[in-house]
């Protein structure tokens, strides 16, 4: 059946990495077809030859190699694209799709790059979806761990996996998520693409999904009645739904005694509140309601701001923007240049601006505290959105003072409380165990 080979050749005429190799097994000629960028041909050939030595006929060899024997041309084309090795016998209808020895395109299991667990297992998820699910299976060996996989997308079929524990995660949640994942039509490239499938949140900084790099954290979320999603070639587990408590707690905290865990989490809450409120409070106290200060403090603040031409609000927004710029710039730069930006930023902002009397030294202290505080929360995405939340409150504070700060804070809380993902509010602390055990 020479025409299959011909057809494949013409179909992939623009693909220079396609190989069609002839090989003699017994008395029959067979063709190996695949992409040499995906298939390790030499090793795969060796493997087939070894198998051939122990097989009586070509037909037996094909059956030994694969359970997908004698498939149609459509499936063969798809299999080639997926990195499978296709074996076709010459002039015969025999063909088989074989799992080859693949080119190694994945890194091995490595340490987490975005999270730094202390006193904990440091295996992190990798790019391969099967390895990622395997990491979960290895640590959670129960038959109640369910795994649904999907292939979605228009141009590129991307593999998605949904994991949940039967009897733990609410059935309604599983059904809804299942529906939403099945309905995906467009390509899923980023988390935000996936995020949109769970209901559009226009202009919302809060995602439906909370990414984590650590298997332990993902398993903990599963046990806490939530769903974990995996995307192929994406080294994070996506916990659904994202809840506010994710910002303040990681499972690794619990490796310490309870009191220390409590302390760590308390600091994170303080950090989050301080990030949102502190710059606004500075503006409110310095420019709108100085009457609240104690006398000594009022005089001290007045002295520290003496001769500064900018108004408190402009000064604060200037510093806050510059600091956010620095944080972003450090991210963008190669690791070898990053520290120099930190140094230059620190010296220029901290020292020169104060000495030039462009901003007050009290503000520099406030801003430093805010930057440190905003980094205390778990997860960079949470840290980013907290940094965003401080701006509206800052503007309100410059109009209405203390009243504005608290109105802004309360409005922020109201906004967060209004967020839901699949009818589970963002401010939920615990999802009830509602699933059927059977």
């Amino acid at each position: 059946m020479r025409d299959i080979v011909k057809e494949i050749e013409s179909k992939f005429s623009n693909h220079d990495d396609l190989f069609i190799e002839e090989e003699l097994v017994g008395k029959t000629t067979i063709y190996f077809i695949g992409f040499n960028t995906l298939v390790d041909l030499t090793k795969s050939k060796l493997y087939v030859q070894q198998m051939a030595a122990s097989s009586s006929s070509v037909k037996a060899l094909f059956i030994n190699l694969s359970d997908q024997v004698g498939v149609d041309i459509e499936q063969i084309l798809k299999a080639i694209l997926e990195g499978k090795l296709v074996i076709v016998s010459k002039g015969d209808a025999e063909n088989a799709i074989v799992d080859p020895i693949a080119q190694n395109l994945n890194r091995s299991i490595e340490e987490p790059k975005n999270e730094s667990p202390i006193q904990a297992s440091i295996n992190a998820f990798g790019d391969d979806i099967t390895i990622n699910v395997g990491l979960i299976r290895k640590r959670l060996s129960t038959e109640r761990l369910c795994h649904c996989s999907y292939q979605v997308g228009e141009l590129d079929k991307r593999r998605l996996s949904m994991l949940y524990i039967k009897g733990r995660a609410p059935n309604i949640l599983i059904e809804k998520a299942n529906q939403q994942l099945k309905q995906i039509k467009s390509d899923i490239e980023t988390i935000d693409d996936l995020n949109k499938q769970f209901g559009q949140r226009i202009l919302s900084p809060v995602s439906h999904l909370s990414p984590t790099e650590l298997p332990i954290q993902a398993i903990h979320s599963l046990k806490k009645n939530r769903i974990v999603l995996f995307m192929d070639n994406y080294p994070f587990a996506l916990v659904f739904p994202n809840l506010i408590w994710d910002m303040f707690s990681t499972e690794n905290d619990r490796n310490f005694p309870f009191v220390l865990t409590f302390m760590l989490r308390l600091f994170r809450v303080i950090g989050a509140v301080a990030t949102v409120v502190l710059p606004a409070l500075y503006v409110a106290l310095v420019s709108v309601n100085p009457g609240i200060f104690r006398t000594d403090l009022a005089l001290f603040v007045a002295k520290s701001r003496e001769g500064i031409p900018l108004s408190a609000f402009l000064e604060t927004i200037l510093m806050v923007v510059i600091v956010d710029l620095i944080l972003e710039a450090i991210n963008r730069l190669p690791k070898s240049v990053g520290p120099s930006i930190t140094m230059v930023g620190g010296i220029i902002l901290g020292q020169a601006m104060v000495e030039a009397k462009l901003v007050s030294n009290l503000l520099v202290i406030v801003i430093t505290a805010v930057v440190i505080a905003s980094s205390a929360v778990v997860g960079i995405q949470n840290s980013l959105y907290i940094r965003l939340l401080k701006y509206p409150i800052l503007v309100l504070a410059s109009f209405f003072g203390i009243l504005g700060v608290w109105t802004g804070f309360i409005l922020t809380v109201i906004y967060l409380a209004s967020l839901t993902s699949d009818d589970i509010p963002y401010l939920t602390f615990n999802i009830k165990q509602e699933g059927d055990t059977k």
Partner: protein
């Protein structure tokens, strides 16, 4: 079209950012922050207002004195506002010194207190003090003394229990409340400008409905303070042959009404520590002497105040349950002069 609207909204939002705080909001360094306000009356006609405003520019805080004259306090405040270089922010006023010549006229003093209480700019938690001196002298005295901060005058009244138990601090709202209280009069501290220190404590003036009844000495002030439930800790008492320091104190009052005659039995417990004594003086004698001295001092003050019908200790407060509200009106005139107080002091060695 929708996009266009969004764009307009964005422009409005951006402009608010640029305009933030551009109209009536003043940064703290663009405000003058007076800490002490002196009020006096000149020639029985014009009010004279003196403000002590610290200058934060220098490292050693000095302050300037700003005065203004006018027919009413409000008009002077407005005048000072107009003439000042910066916006004057009265929200940090912590002490109001009133010259005694103004306090001579009860009606005027009452009106002044009402004005200060009602004014939104001046915080009602500001302390009040009276002075015999010229108010301007008292306030400007601060610049002549070395190593004194701009906020010293305020600090003077805030040393707190344990350090100076006899100093009074009375806020405007407390004075205002006493104007309307049936059962409690108030003592306002009296100060003078001192020679070496900024202020000198001269005791307290008893105010009854805005009228100064009499002045009591610092020793008596301390007794009044005890009845206001302030700790007597830190008080040093000299008995002639020994001197002691009070390390702790507590007071318990019991009230009863018999035949329309109010009776209070008070127990003051003192913990004392002997600082020095002459030879051969026993602990017991010191204790007895101290108890006797304190009791004597109390009964003398009680008799005086009963004569002038001013309930400086606030005993009437404790009879609110026994006497009906209508009769409480007559507490000062009918009940207080008849009040029997059984005051007992128990001193203990530490």
């Amino acid at each position: 079209m929708r996009n266009n609207k969004l764009f307009k909204l964005l422009i409005v939002f951006m402009s608010t950012i640029l305009l933030c705080g551009c109209w009536d909001i003043k940064d703290i360094n663009k405000r003058s922050i007076p800490l002490v306000m002196g009020i006096s009356k000149e020639d029985d006609e014009e009010y004279k207002l003196t403000l002590q405003i610290p200058i934060p520019k220098n490292d050693d805080q000095i302050s300037r004195i700003v005065t203004g004259r006018g027919e009413t306090v409000a008009s002077v405040l407005g005048q000072i506002r107009t003439n000042s270089e910066d916006a004057v922010d009265f929200s940090q006023i912590r002490l109001i010194v009133i010259q005694k010549n103004l306090a001579k006229n009860p009606q005027e003093l009452r009106d002044l207190i009402k004005f200060l209480m009602g004014s939104e700019d001046i915080p009602s938690r500001a302390l009040v003090a009276l002075t015999d001196d010229d108010v301007e002298n008292v306030l400007s005295n601060i610049n002549d003394k070395l190593g004194v901060h701009a906020s010293s005058i305020y600090d003077y009244f805030n040393k707190g229990a344990g350090w100076v138990p006899e100093i009074f601090s009375i806020t405007i709202w407390e004075v205002y409340r006493s104007l309307y209280s049936y059962t409690k009069d108030i003592a306002v501290p009296v100060v003078r400008s001192g020679k070496d220190t900024v202020l000198k404590f001269k005791g307290a003036a008893i105010l009854k409905k805005g009228k100064i009844i009499e002045t009591i000495s610092p020793d008596e002030c301390q007794l009044v303070n005890v009845f206001r439930n302030n700790n007597e800790k830190g008080r040093i008492e000299s008995l002639g042959f020994a001197s002691i320091i009070v390390t702790n104190s507590s007071i318990k009052n019991k009230t009863s009404m018999k035949n329309n005659k109010p009776t209070v039995s008070s127990n003051l417990r003192l913990k004392i520590y002997i600082l020095e004594r002459k030879e051969g003086i026993t602990n017991k004698r010191i204790r007895k002497e101290l108890e006797k001295l304190t009791e004597k001092r109390f009964y003398r003050l009680l008799k005086r105040t009963q004569g002038s019908q001013t309930d400086i200790f606030g005993f009437g407060q404790q009879f609110h349950q026994q006497i009906s509200y209508h009769e409480l009106k007559d507490w000062r005139n009918d009940y207080y002069p008849k009040l029997k107080v059984n005051f007992q002091v128990h001193a203990n060695m530490e």
